[in-house]
Amino acid sequence: MNKYIKITILSLIVIVALFNTFYFEKLDAKKERESIKDFNPKEKAEYFWDNKRDDILKSAIDLKLFDSQLADNPEALIRQYGKAVGITSKYSFLVKGVAMQAAPDADEIPVTITDGHAMYNLQIKYIFGNAARDAVDYFKIDEFENSMDFNAMSTELNRLIIQREIVKLDSIQPGEMIHFIGALEIYSENKPSQIAIVPLKIEAAR
């Protein structure tokens, strides 16, 4: 009888010990948990830049088309091409165009459009804000643990723009033409006269 009691107590101890030693978790949940813990905005931005950027930039609209639609029918322009994050009147767009390389110490390059309505400037010195992140529409806020991580993606994308695109201008002479694809932002309640474009891709038009 004593023997049976001993076996039962030992079995219970083993079960309790095993129960506290192992646990089961879905692989997806584990990976997600680890990706949050190991959040690396630099790596995430570089992955986008190297693997996803070019495909996404194919959806950029011609700056001439953007300009004329902004003047004639901004609601339709926003509806068709605008991207917004949250409750806002700010919309981001991907545009492409041509500009002339400026002097080496310039902060921006003016982009001239024949019969254009607004004035556009390609930013080539200071890059900040969320225009690039929001216009590419690749990073989704709900996928980030907090808004600081989401905003860190803007910081990293802006760094890549300077390090990988704006640097290309060093080898282009003033007066030479360049092709660009970039991001811009407008507010639905007003038609701006000056619009800044953040470059996402720059190539010499040779």
Partner: protein
């Protein structure tokens, strides 16, 4: 006779039972559902507006709404959640005290089947609250940073008053501001210290900073209460004409101070929009809707001495 007596007794019992059942079911139909509004602190008028608007909107939607003040104290917040969970509230409109520390409270509410909707301040988790409606602090402070650089013409010495260090808003604002300002090497930050989003604390900190740094050109404050505290200190030191002050919130006294030329600019948040959205989401959830985005940023606008006419306290002018 016995049978007659039994029939009368049975009928009476049945009628009383039916009337009691009817009373109790009428009562349950008429019972007003309750929504809790938990606010980090009511010691700041901005949060009073947030809480009162959430309460008012919940009442308009047919609920009884009760405001709880956490007094910037996470333990107090936990006490409120314990009471709310025990008291049969149907939803919580929540302004947390701490991004990490408040997660456990939201989890407890979720386990009790009570949906939580964060307002203005976020928690560091994206799977416990139903939705988080937040100011886009980073973008707002990018705008403020650009204006700051313009006003200082890209050079000078400045100090920064941070908010509560455990709050993500503090860092989103600071990082948005520095993402612009740090590009200008002639803009030097002489000191950076927390004023805990509090007017009196900010005034004390600013007084010390003025003693330690004689040539400050500007102050960037993580909220408007601190901007007013900084202004008091600067004014008392006789430097109100020399030092430019920048805030963030869109509070009544700062909008007035911008209009009077005492403060340069602020970032206008829209607490009423956030509070109303949270209350409406809670109503939809209670009625069965489950389709909500986890994070919803609300745009922040730059208010300066040039465009202050377009704005009133806590929003746009009518």
């Amino acid at each position: 006779m016995k049978l007659k007596h039994f029939v009368v007794q049975f009928t009476c019992t049945l009628l009383i039972g039916m009337s009691l059942f009817s009373c109790s079911s009428n009562k349950s139909d008429k019972t007003v559902k309750k929504i809790a509004v938990v606010i980090s602190t009511l010691n700041n008028p901005w949060f009073v507006v947030l809480g009162e608007t959430a309460k008012q909107r919940a009442e308009e939607l047919g609920y009884e709404a009760v405001i709880f003040d956490s007094q910037n104290n996470p333990s107090k917040e936990t006490e409120h959640f314990d009471n709310i969970i025990a008291s049969g509230f149907k939803a919580i409109l929540f302004n947390p005290t701490d991004a990490k520390g408040s997660v456990a409270n939201v989890k407890a509410a979720k386990q009790a089947g009570i949906p939580v909707f964060c307002m203005d301040r976020e928690i560091d988790a994206n799977d416990v609250a139903v939705s988080q409606i937040l100011s886009d602090n980073y973008s707002g402070c990018v705008l403020l940073g650009q204006y700051f650089v313009k006003k200082l013409k890209g050079k000078g010495s400045y100090v920064e008053l941070l908010g509560l260090v455990g709050d993500n808003n503090t860092w989103n604002r600071s990082k948005g501001f520095h993402s612009v300002v740090d590009n200008y090497p002639d803009l030097k930050m002489a000191a950076q210290q927390t004023g805990e989003f509090d007017r009196n604390k900010a005034m004390e900190v600013m007084e010390s900073m003025l003693q330690a740094h004689r040539n400050i050109d500007a102050v960037f404050c993580g909220n408007d209460a601190m901007a007013m505290g900084a202004y008091q200190a600067v004014n008392a030191a006789g430097k109100a004409d020399k030092i430019m002050i920048f805030g963030f919130d869109g509070a009544a006294d700062v909008v007035d101070a911008i209009r009077d030329g005492k403060i340069e600019a602020t970032g206008m948040q829209f607490p009423k929009t956030m509070a109303k959205t949270a209350a409406e989401f809670a109503d939809k959830y209670i009625k069965g809707d489950r389709d909500f985005s986890q994070k919803i940023p609300v745009a922040v606008e730059l208010v300066t001495q040039e465009n202050v006419g377009n704005y009133a306290a806590y929003g746009k002018a009518n």
